[in-house]
């Protein structure tokens, strides 16, 4: 009989202890919260040492970037890509090596080459890219390259490449509106001449 009452008392006290624990956790949620609101918050990037200094060699994943002002539209990267993830379309420029201000086209690359083509489309499908780095070698102007490594100073380092929508993973490097713009410029010049 005494065991019966002792059981009741014990279970009551243990139940109250449990309820106290959950209640304190509920009140201290601001401090004790362990969830990371991922796209808005990120964990700090861990500092790590793989034999190089962090600044000297970026070990975080790299991805392709194009400096579109330097691109001459030679299609070498498109041809060499083993998975055909690069799509380039070009349009002949009216005058070789001349800036077209309407579409922000730069006529001369940073290496001093006069551009013949206007690049109207330069898409890299990052869902297909296999990060083989083959496209960066044939580029005569060195305008397509991997971020990270020696280029890590040029671009903020992103190690996730995550997007809300899958179509956002197709990186469009050509300036928006180039395709319509160049045709408008050409037709205007045709009308003038």
């Amino acid at each position: 009989m005494s065991r019966y009452f002792r059981n009741i008392a014990e279970s009551l006290s243990s139940l109250l202890t449990g309820m106290g624990i959950t209640f304190t956790h509920m009140l201290k949620i601001k401090k004790g919260n362990v969830t990371l609101q991922y796209p808005e918050e990120k964990w700090p990037r861990p500092e790590r040492n793989i034999g190089f200094n962090h600044e000297d060699y970026n070990v975080i994943r790299s991805r392709l970037t194009v400096d579109i002002n330097d691109c001459i539209g030679c299609l070498k990267c498109e041809r060499i890509c083993p998975v055909q993830c690069i799509k380039i379309e070009t349009e002949k420029a009216p005058v070789r090596g001349e800036d077209i201000n309407e579409i922000n086209h730069v006529g001369i690359t940073s290496n001093g080459t006069n551009k013949v083509q206007v690049v109207t489309r330069f898409d890299i499908d990052m869902t297909e890219c296999c990060y083989c780095n083959l496209c960066t070698y044939p580029c005569p102007e060195e305008c397509i390259y991997m971020t990270g490594g020696p280029n890590s100073k040029k671009h903020p380092i992103d190690y996730e490449f995550s997007e809300h929508d899958r179509s956002d993973l197709i990186y469009r490097f050509a300036k928006p509106g180039t395709k319509e713009g160049i045709q408008k410029v050409k037709s205007k010049q045709g009308a003038q001449s």
Partner: protein, 357 residues
């Protein structure tokens, strides 16, 4: 706002309508519509509260978002709206070997049991749909209607897990009706009436006049009653009839889409009813805790809903704190602990009223 009051108001307003049946129908359907919308609103609020409170108790943040669209609104406020939309769009499946008429009937019986309990629930001094003179008895009676629906759902699914769930819930609800009923007897002994409004009027005049604080036996009776009603709603640590880890989903394993959401809605509606009964019987209903401070119809509703939602919070708190009981433990608690305690309570309250008053 009784049905009678509505009827007289309607007959004065629409004196051109000769047909008295139509007037009666109008005055009967209006409260039902309000009750159904109350049930839906309650389910929405409770779903959100349950998600958030359970998350906070487990050091999570629960549903969060930055705005409508991809995310569920600021602090996930749109999540309880997204959930019903998802449930309504789901395919409604009926198993091939199920007993089809019973399978379709079961959710409606449970829903009916939930909805007709609200008829005798007082919201404040004037607002009660039907002021029955056996109000508390009526609510206890229709509250056990749910067991028919549960066992029907379990049986008609033609699935051993569902049947186990239905059987367990039947055993559980029938067992816990007894201590709950014995605790209600304590209320009736003190208030001297089965009418909900009379019970509340008995407790007027401040917090110390509430039945829970009127003597030590009724103080114990409140906690026994509260645990029993939590068990009767198949919730918290007593959810052995739908134990996810043992019985897949118990009696609602085979239900999907809208039928499943009816079960869900009824569960929350049942919680609301039993919380109303506990607040009415032990916590003074719509009476203010401080004698004449903040009284009146609007404050009455405020106090009533305040008490009810605090009790509902405690139910959620129970659910996310305690592990589920085993079947034999559940029966042990009911038959060997609660029933003796409530019998002693009845005896003690009787002696107390004779000797002390």
């Amino acid at each position: 706002m009784t049905v009678d009051w509505l009827y007289t108001t309607f007959s004065q307003l629409f004196s051109f309508i000769e047909n008295t049946d139509l007037l009666f129908l109008m005055s009967a359907i209006l409260p039902i519509g309000i009750i159904v919308s109350l049930m839906a609103a309650n389910a929405i609020v409770m779903v959100y509260a349950e998600m958030k409170i359970s998350a906070f108790m487990q050091d999570r943040v629960g549903p969060m978002g930055q705005g409508p669209g991809l995310h569920a609104g600021k602090f996930g406020i749109l999540q309880p709206i997204a959930d019903p939309i998802k449930l309504l769009l789901k395919e409604d499946t009926i198993p091939e070997v199920a007993d089809k008429p019973l399978f379709i009937l079961a959710p409606f019986i449970i829903f009916l049991g939930a909805i007709i309990g609200f008829l005798a629930v007082p919201f404040n001094e004037n607002v009660i749909v039907v002021d029955l003179n056996i109000g508390i008895f009526y609510i206890m009676a229709v509250g056990s209607l749910a067991v028919i629906g549960l066992i029907l759902a379990g049986w008609s699914s033609n699935n051993k897990w569902s049947l186990y769930g239905g059987m367990r819930s039947a055993a559980q609800i029938i067992s816990y009706e007894i201590p709950a009923g014995l605790c209600v007897i304590v209320i009736i002994m003190l208030a001297g009436s089965l009418n909900m409004q009379d019970i509340i009027h008995y407790q007027s005049g401040g917090m110390l006049n509430w039945i829970i604080f009127s003597n030590p036996f009724s103080f114990v009776a409140f906690f026994v009653f509260f645990i029993c009603i939590v068990a009767e709603t198949n919730r918290g640590p007593f959810d052995i009839s739908e134990a996810e880890s043992e019985l897949v989903g118990g009696f609602h394993t085979e239900y999907s889409g809208f039928r499943w959401s009816i079960f869900f809605l009824s569960e929350y509606a049942n919680m609301l009813i039993v919380a109303f009964v506990a607040a009415t019987g032990f916590l003074g209903g719509w009476q203010s805790p401080f004698q004449d401070f903040m009284t009146g119809p609007l404050w009455g509703t405020f106090w009533m809903l305040g008490k009810v939602f605090s009790l509902l919070f405690v139910m959620i708190w129970f659910r996310w704190t305690f592990p589920r009981l085993r079947v034999d433990q559940l029966m042990y608690i009911c038959w060997k602990v609660f029933i003796p305690i409530s019998l002693i309570n009845i005896f003690g309250v009787g002696i107390w009223t004779i000797l002390i008053g």
